[in-house]
């Protein structure tokens, strides 16, 4: 069972990813979501780095999970996707970073509005937790609520 750091707790994931069998609500790709009829039940979607988050605007009411996939640590498009989802679209549901997610990026990810994390192989979610408290101060405002460093006045 997939382990997720959700806010500050490690728990088993209830969602099924594209291509996975079993119980639980199914995560769709953006293309699948756009091709489907009006969804019944909770909706989860997975964005690729190239996907435009604005495309999710029609589905905000029923969205419960948005997964932003990082192809590599260095591909920072997901940070902008997260900020836009929170700031511009006003999305308040679970926002998960997945793919090349390592503990050393955790603070920045949380600052951009991610509140759940599926780590890359080899990363211990419990050990990673400490990174959320790496900084007690930050120079910029941001849309994250999981961490709340003191901001420069």
């Amino acid at each position: 069972m997939r382990q997720i750091l959700s806010r500050r707790e490690v728990r088993a994931d209830r969602w099924r990813y594209p291509g996975e069998d079993g119980d639980g609500p199914r995560v769709q790709t953006l293309a699948e979501l756009q091709a489907a009829a009006v969804p019944a039940g909770p909706v989860g979607v997975r964005l690729a780095p190239v996907d435009e988050v604005e495309q999710l605007a029609p589905y905000l009411e029923s969205l419960e999970l948005v997964i932003v996939h990082f192809d590599s640590v260095g591909d920072g498009r997901g940070y902008s996707q997260a900020q836009l989802l929170r700031d511009r679209l006003g999305y308040r549901g679970e926002l998960r970073a997945a793919g090349a997610v390592r503990r050393d990026q955790l603070f920045l990810l949380a600052r951009c509005g991610f509140d759940s994390f599926e780590f890359a192989a080899g990363e211990d979610p419990r050990a990673a937790l400490a990174q959320l408290d790496a900084y007690s101060v930050a120079y910029q405002r941001s849309s994250g609520t999981l961490v709340s460093p003191n901001l420069r006045a």
């Binding site: 640590v73 260095g74 591909d75 920072g76 498009r77 940070y79 902008s80 900020q83 700031d87 511009r88 390592r102 050393d104 990026q105 920045l108 600052r111 951009c112 790496a134 900084y135 007690s136 101060v137 930050a138 120079y139 910029q140 405002r141 941001s142 849309s143 994250g144 003191n150 420069r152 006045a153």
Partner: protein, 552 residues
Amino acid sequence: MYQYDAFDRTFVNERVAEFRDQTRRFLAGELSEDDFRPLRLRNGLYIQKHAPMLRVAIPYGLLATRQLRMLAHIARRYDRGFGHFSTRQNIQFNWPKLAEVPDILAELATVDMHAIQTSGNCIRNVTTDHLAGVASDELEDPRPWCELIRQWSTLHPEFTYLPRKFKIAVSGASHDRAVTAVHDVGLRLVRGPTGDIGFEVQVGGGLGRMPIIGKRIREWLPQQELLAYLEAILRVYNRHGRRDNIHRARIKVLVKSLGIAAFARQVEAEFAANRAVAPRLEAARIAQLRASFRPPAYRPRPDIDASVGADAAFVAWYRHNTRAHKVSGYRVVFISLKKHGEAPGDMTAAQMDALADLADRHSFGEVRVTHDQNLVLADVPQAELRTLHAALAPLGLASPNIGTLTDMICCPGLDFCSLANAGSIGIAKQIHEQFDDLDYLYDLGEIQVKMSGCMNACGHHHVGHIGILGVDKHGEEWYQITLGGSATGQVSLGEVIGPSVPKPEVAATIGRILDVYVEQRESDSESFLQVVRRIGVAPFKERVYAPDTVAA
């Protein structure tokens, strides 16, 4: 200058603690090389040919003497007794041990310094005019804005993993000494239609493999909108900049492929859409930053000409290494780091300590770093210049060659850098040896020679009046020459004169180029650059490649 408060200190200390843990995990094998790389780069640490290289940030080139003394201490304790000032107003240490880097950063933090974001694909150290605050052609001091940008860009949550590095320069003067046109974003303080001072914004300039002059994206931006507008530019770039090819990933490629008009439309749309949450600067915040850069306590001083009745050595130094100051009775002093026999930009720990003492005595305890790898004491009383000169000369810091041919910009090249194709320090020595007659150099007037050991162009060769680019030809070091580039005022990119020349021929080739200049100039006041612009490169090319002159 800006003083850290408790907030800044807390941040820098937390950064040091984070990197100490990351270094420990790397050395213990818990963090792979691939995972450690982006982390160490964002802390200024490269792995070079011989050892790690640590690039320490000198924000907008301004150093307090306690900071300069700390750099001397680090050079002595952790390196081989010297440091290298770079073309981005930073300092590089070439021999630190990886395991000791967290200690170095902790020592830097005690004097409010760091190495954050001096490398990696993020917003780099912001640079500015080395004459900020003392130049008479200045509309407004750019340094409060640089400090604002420094803070805003430090560990920006959204823009720390950009497609590529991102450099911002700010100029507040009518004559641009910050080379804003070759930065990813170049900001110039200008008066707008209402008479208020705002920013002219240029985007997409840069050197490297694809040299290009930045395009104007905003004629005038209100000052309080600066960060909001920068966020709009960075967001469009972060979302749409290319990430598939490292050589096509700078913002200049995005601007070029979209065209400046379409790029500007995207930025303006993002700027408008983000208005509700974008950072908007309060007047109090701007006032607070400006207060950090109040002029020093100048005193009424006699406006004497210190060179009257002085010896020839002083007169030469006064004429070439000092400049007018906007306050009567004071003078701006350039400390040349281009002494014959030394690598351009290098400085020993002993020199740093001694210069710190002199800056305390004669220039309000501050030193500046220029983008052409010299230092500046910005506020020296005219009446103290002779004492200062007498102290600088035995330190080897009074070479009277500022603005001359031997005041070269030079990257570390093949001797240190793992990217380089060819040496550059050796060529600097060759040029020094061939052109050691000061009277000849003074007769030639202002000539900017800029030299890079590879096409990444750390030595800014494209904007040298004479540019020298090291290339690798079947394992041998050859050099391509460009003419007519300019980094200041009317910025231009140099034109390649022809096939590259072999290493032993570089200084002789420059000699032939200078012969053409001397023959062609219409008066003593027509500069090298003016002649190149007037007659083009053809006459130079003809002389350089004349059959009887090519040795190889």
